[in-house]
């Protein structure tokens, strides 16, 4: 048996994803949790590249790593009291939660292994950006417009929620 280099890289990237997700889940310090999310998001972008989804990988890096992660770090810095770590990342019911999630994961992996998935004969690796752009302005025009409205509403809602009330 020999393992080709791309399979090795896949396992490495998956290890980064799962490992940093474990740090996010089990770290006692919320700053560590928030920074470990970088590994998870970047690793998932790498898996997207493996799956031939170049546009989605670029979007993942731009929005998750560049946007959401910075937003979360800002929120951590604004609400974090560094002196008391026990308060910043308290967990309740670790053992029952862990058991329940482990059973759930076992059922999930068993179902994935047993199911006879539909598969295409030959997987294709082609640039996807032009196809996705045409679909957004063609078949998926209505969801695309609704997404624009949702983003506008989220923007206005975030501003309304976070601004200070001015007392008369």
């Amino acid at each position: 048996m020999e393992i080709s280099i791309d399979v090795l890289i896949f396992y490495l990237v998956s290890l980064v994803v799962v490992g940093s997700a474990c740090i996010v889940a089990f770290s006692r310090n919320i700053v560590h949790s928030a920074f470990s999310l970088l590994g998870t998001f970047g690793g998932v972008a790498g898996l997207y590249v493996f799956l031939g989804a170049d546009f989605v990988a670029a979007v993942q890096v731009l929005i998750y790593v560049g946007g959401i992660l910075v937003l979360i770090l800002f929120a951590v810095m604004l609400t974090h009291r560094i002196s008391d770590i026990d308060i910043t990342n308290r967990t309740v019911g670790r053992i029952p939660g862990l058991v329940a999630v482990a059973v759930f994961l076992g059922i999930l992996v068993y179902a994935i292994g047993e199911t006879d998935w539909v598969k295409v004969k030959e997987v294709a690796y082609a640039p996807t950006t032009a196809t996705i752009g045409n679909l957004f302005l063609g078949d998926y025009l209505l969801p695309f417009q609704i997404a624009a409205v949702v983003l506008l509403v989220a923007l206005i809602g975030a501003i309304t929620l976070s601004r200070k009330e001015i007392k008369e």
Binding site: S14, V17, S33, F50, I72, V92, I112, V120
Partner: protein
């Protein structure tokens, strides 16, 4: 034994689904056990990422077209707006209660 070795040396749909399943389970664990509102949002981000990974994996191995990738772009868009709104709510709660522990903030109005 040989079947297991062949399964490990050739990456297929199941590998990506297992990675997505692990991410989903860890996200559920965070949402169940954490008491910090920002940590719960981190768990929700993990869950959304696992769903997006599954969509792209199915689009690559099962259908062969890019429809699944478009759903993933929509998921990322919803995750961005969810993070913005959620963190704005967390900051408003912090200004009101001076804590973001979800068990301490149980009053509805005054």
């Amino acid at each position: 034994m040989a079947a297991y070795v062949a399964m490990l040396t050739k990456v297929g749909l199941e590998h990506y689904l297992v990675v997505g399943g692990i991410l989903f389970a860890l996200g559920i664990y965070i949402v169940l056990t954490r008491r910090n509102a920002i940590s719960i949002l981190l768990g929700v981000e993990l869950i959304l990422n696992s769903a997006g990974l599954n969509y792209v994996a199915f689009s690559h191995f099962s259908t062969g077209n890019v429809d699944g990738q478009i759903y993933t772009v929509f998921i990322i868009m919803l995750a961005a707006s969810e993070a913005a709104i959620g963190l704005a709510i967390v900051l408003a709660i912090y200004q009101l209660f001076a804590t973001i522990d979800v068990e301490a903030t149980e009053t509805l109005k005054d």
